[in-house]
């Protein structure tokens, strides 16, 4: 019976596939962090920076959003990163996904900043605050909270993009799916298995982000149009 063979292959592959979940989680957390650490300053530079700086950020965003991640992985892993001494496939994957995510995350934060009333910055200046302090203590605390729904989108997209790291041989879920499919000749059963794992990861991640959103909510403060 074919179903039984497929089921046995799936059960046998379970520990190995769960190991892949660990790799996927590391990639995802790494890329989200890199994207956040780069994306927030990028957003600030784009909104508040001098025209040249703002245009430079625009160029960065345009480049990383415009080139498919698959192409970037080949360029960075085989071409650019070896030149600066980075050899590891995991690091290359986190850099590529992180830089791309930074371009998307910067646009999420930029949108949130621009949805705040411009008078807030003027009022802060009138109180004698420097622009840097005002952005740090008044603008960003509001903008970052407003960005969380956008982030849960970014989280689920990045999770699925992490499967592309298979082409540079990072042993994440999709690479392991292919390897088990090749060994057991059960490609459809293994694809179904991978789909279930990705679904669970997406669900858990989005629940966590929702929890954070509720946790950091300021009572009585809400932005019209936010989800």
């Amino acid at each position: 019976m074919h179903f039984e063979k497929a089921l046995n292959a799936t059960i046998e592959a379970l520990p190995y596939m769960l190991g892949g979940v660990g790799w996927t989680a590391i990639i995802l957390i790494g890329a989200l962090l890199v994207g956040f650490v780069l994306g927030v300053p990028l957003a600030c530079c784009q909104v508040y920076g001098r025209p040249a700086l703002s245009r430079a950020v625009g160029l960065y965003v345009w480049l990383f959003r415009g080139v498919p991640i698959l192409v970037q992985l080949f360029l960075f892993y085989f071409g650019l990163l070896p030149l600066v001494g980075i050899d590891s496939a995991l690091a290359a994957g986190v850099i590529v996904l992180g830089f791309t995510s930074a371009s998307y995350q910067s646009q999420i934060v930029r949108g949130s900043i621009q949805s705040l009333s411009a008078g807030q910055l003027k009022a802060a200046r009138a109180l004698g605050m420097s622009d840097f302090t005002a952005i740090k203590s008044i603008i960003l605390p509001q903008a970052l909270r407003l960005s969380i729904p956008g982030w849960s989108n970014e989280f689920s997209i990045l999770l699925k993009d992490s499967a592309l790291l298979m082409v540079i041989s990072v042993p994440e879920i999709m690479a392991r799916t292919r390897s088990v499919a090749g060994r057991t000749h059960e490609p459809v059963a293994m694809a179904l298995f991978a789909a279930i794992l990705y679904f669970i990861l997406t669900y858990v991640g989005i629940q966590i982000l929702r929890w954070i959103e509720r946790k950091v909510r300021i009572k009585g403060y809400s932005q019209e149009g936010s989800m």
Binding site: D87, S88, V180, G182
Partner: protein
């Protein structure tokens, strides 16, 4: 602001380099193996590289006095990985084609494959009749089998070629009738037919091709070492033992 930003970028770069743990490898030969190409090279259920080529390389390494590390590598990127220095050789059921020989060097051949057609167990038609029938034959795109079928079709064979991402996917469609036959290397055919109701529908009239280990063009020393090791292995009784163990016909 710009200075702070640059410092941030720099610190992210540094921490990533730490994650990567830039290991400088000393005299370890890294062998790239295909994720899933049993019985030649694959990743076993514990995630360890296994198969005929893996064990053959282990024997050669021991005999020739070097350390070998098997690195599972995606097939699509395996030659770029070799030429970028991520791996040092490919011992993973690779066909030594003239096209590949332009960008890598091949060691002496150790196995030869033919192109075959696999059909359902109850199929009545033989290869010659099939090639005039207008029926569908599945094949993995980009393979030598695909090239052969295209040539046969251009020469007048009446078949419909259906391309797949892998032979395994073609084999999903064979029993349900989306295709009537599946073309592939003989080495894979024996593997996919194990425990299934398929049979060989015939062998194509084409020159057999050879499997060989690949190394970088510049690595003449490694090529010599591998050639010498292979010759020793093929003269050793262990060679037959290995072939029997992995059921390599």
């Amino acid at each position: 602001m710009a200075k702070k930003f640059m410092a941030l970028v720099a610190s992210v770069m540094v921490s990533l380099m730490l994650i990567s743990g830039a290991i400088a490898s000393d005299k370890v030969v890294v062998n790239g193996i295909d994720f899933g190409f049993p019985p030649f090279g694959f990743v076993d259920k514990d995630g360890k590289p296994a198969g005929f080529d893996v064990e053959a390389m282990n024997w050669i390494a021991k005999e020739m006095g070097f350390t070998v590390k098997h690195q599972p590598t995606d097939w699509d990127g395996i030659i770029p990985a070799l030429n970028a220095g991520k791996i040092d050789c490919i011992a993973s059921g690779m066909s030594a084609t003239a096209e590949r020989a332009k960008i890598v060097n091949f060691a002496i051949p150790y196995y030869s494959v033919t192109q075959v057609m696999v059909v359902r167990g109850d199929e009545k038609m033989d290869l010659a009749a099939f090639m005039k029938s207008g029926r569908k034959i599945g094949v993995q795109r980009g393979t030598n089998t695909f090239k052969l079928l295209t040539e046969l079709k251009a020469a007048g064979a009446n078949i419909e070629i259906v391309q797949y991402d892998s032979t395994d996917l073609a084999m999903q469609d064979l029993p349900i009738g989306r295709i009537d036959a599946s073309g592939m290397d003989s080495s894979i055919a024996y593997e996919v037919m194990k425990g299934q109701s398929y049979k060989l529908g015939g062998t194509f009239d084409a020159a057999p091709e050879n499997y060989a280990y690949a190394v970088r063009k510049a690595d003449t020393e490694l090529l010599e070492t591998l050639n010498m090791g292979l010759k020793k292995l093929m003269a050793d009784p262990y060679w037959e033992e290995l072939k029997n163990k992995w059921e390599i016909h």
